[in-house]
């Protein structure tokens, strides 16, 4: 795509405050930040060097230099601050903040909520704060974060409500298994707070966040943990779309890490034949068994 002169002018205008605030930055970093190549950035800087305020004497021009791949901007003239957010851009920031607020634990939400109101007040007060509302499919979001933690081998920070004691605790846990039961989903994990393996009900986890701490390796990994399953499915299936980030594709075959047999068994059932588990045999035959038993329910009572 050919870049228009106007689009390039905006990049030049944005470059000045960026360089102004990053003294001694390398050409490579600037190019990365602006999504163009180093030669393109050099051309941009050469052009900026000739721009300035009416008069165009050295006193009025933008002044910069490049030495050994390092850029120094000495004089930004009147382009020292970044462009203001347009109303649409401010609204996008509000959507992003609303999404962030939804993902954070309660104790961290206040700050984000205040910031969201600040953006409303400063840039888009004609669109009231509550006109943008974000509420995710809570269970699904939590499950995704949990599976991310297992894939990346990182701990989770959870806010957990103990319904019998009706108290709320904050814990760091290392998940070892997700156990989908028919009436609830259980999370088995090593809990730092209790120094032992505990089972948590997903519904009672008020918030779930990934933290940058390696998870405690489970001492007794059973054979099913971390095995791979081979699947066959169309790209259109719901399961494939929802789990895309965890799949490895090899031609028609799709590989997925299995942390919990029953979860994959039930997922295959729910897809009603659009998702086929080819291996391992234990999962494949369990899907067939449950489907056969279900069919009996219908033949007995036509």
């Amino acid at each position: 795509m050919v870049e228009t002169a106007a689009a390039r002018a905006i990049r030049l205008i944005d470059l000045v405050p960026y360089l102004h605030n990053h003294p001694g930055i390398s050409l490579k970093e600037v190019a990365e930040e602006f999504g163009v190549t180093v030669p393109e950035i050099v051309k941009d800087l050469d052009l900026l060097f000739m721009c300035g305020l009416p008069g165009y004497t050295p006193l009025e021009l933008i002044d910069l230099s490049i030495h050994d791949g390092i850029v120094s901007l000495r004089e930004p003239q009147n382009l020292d601050s970044p462009r203001r957010f347009s109303q649409t851009e401010a609204l996008i920031i509000r959507v992003a903040l609303a999404a962030l607020e939804e993902l954070l634990p309660d104790s961290k939400r206040v700050k984000v909520s205040e910031l969201r109101e600040k953006f409303t007040r400063l840039f888009t007060h004609q669109v009231p704060n509550e006109a943008i509302y974000f509420e995710s499919d809570a269970e699904r979001t939590k499950l995704r974060v949990i599976s991310d933690s297992m894939v990346q081998g990182k701990k989770l920070f959870i806010t957990y409500m103990n319904p019998t004691k009706s108290q709320v605790t904050e814990r760091k846990i290392s998940v070892t298994a997700v156990i989908p039961e028919s009436n609830r989903t259980l999370i088995e994990a090593w809990c730092d707070l209790s120094s032992g393996v505990r089972t948590f009900n997903l519904a009672n986890m008020k918030s779930v966040n990934l933290i940058d701490e390696d998870s405690v390796r489970a001492t007794a990994m059973d054979e099913e943990a971390n095995s791979k399953a081979t699947l066959r499915s169309s790209d259109e299936s719901r399961f494939i779309k929802e789990n895309a980030s965890q799949l490895e594709k090899h031609g028609n075959q799709i590989l997925i890490d299995v942390f919990q047999d029953e979860w994959l068994v039930r997922s295959a059932l729910a897809e009603g034949g659009d998702l086929v588990v080819e291996s391992p045999d234990r999962i494949r035959s369990r899907v067939a068994l449950l489907a056969e038993e279900s069919l009996k329910n219908y033949s007995r009572n036509p």
Binding site: D14, P82, L115, V127, R140, G273, N301
Partner: protein
Amino acid sequence: MSSAKTERLVNLTMALLGTKRFMTKSEIFRRVAGYSGTSETKERMFERDKDDLRTLGIEIEVASHDPLFEDEVGYRIRAELFQLREKFDSEELGLVSLALGLIGGSELGETTHSLSRRINSLAVSPITPEEFRLSEIDITEEGLTELLKALSERRSVTFQYRKEGTSKDEDRRVNPLGLSAWRGGWYLVGEDLDRDDVRVFKLSRISSRIDASSPSNAYVIPEDFSAKDYLVMLKPGEYSVAVRVRRALALNLRNLAETVTQLDDDWDLLKVNFKNREQALREILWMGPDAVVEEPAELRLALVESLKKLVTSHG
């Protein structure tokens, strides 16, 4: 594209930003670098440059320079409208960066990158809270970008909409009041101009391009408007199913159920309203032999069909 034009656009922006009083066209031609040729050429150049800058979102103020000579209009760019002068502390900037990163992979990605660059250009350096590694969330939905723009500029929109349970497209004229991600879907809450009522529209049911070419600032959104108030009134489902489940099992189905009747020592009968047939099929298949559909007959057939497929493909 010639770099001469890029250079001229930057110079024009800087000149209009640097002037306190309005600059007339003749002043611009005389003082801003890059305008040359016959007066007609210069005139055409300037008109195009002005349009280009406006398309890029740069507001150029136009005013009569001197009340006695109304034909001599002047131009300037107001710094407080062009540049970010508001103060943010490094923690606030860090949270904005984190939030933008969260939705950076979606269709808004290009805008969020430009926004992040500008956040990073503020004199204060953002401090991103290190403790959380958030998973990216996918907020992509067709029409979202257009509706965000229309809402922010308060433009009426028209589109074709396919109501749940129908196969016919209807024309809708709507004043957008709010947008919401709600339990896995995106919704527009807006004033339906033909029905004279506030309605909720699911974005995935909008079947045409969204036309937002009407003028901006066309209406005012009440200050106490809350999108949530309208979303919670959405009916959960239209697809009614009678399903037999084993006692003490299938809590997720029980939570959705309108009524629960005990049949015998082993089974309860639930009446459940699902969103649609696909959802019903999925939820019931998930339960395996612990849930049996009684009605409607077509769902029983679909279920038996799916189960046979499962047995064949996994046998």
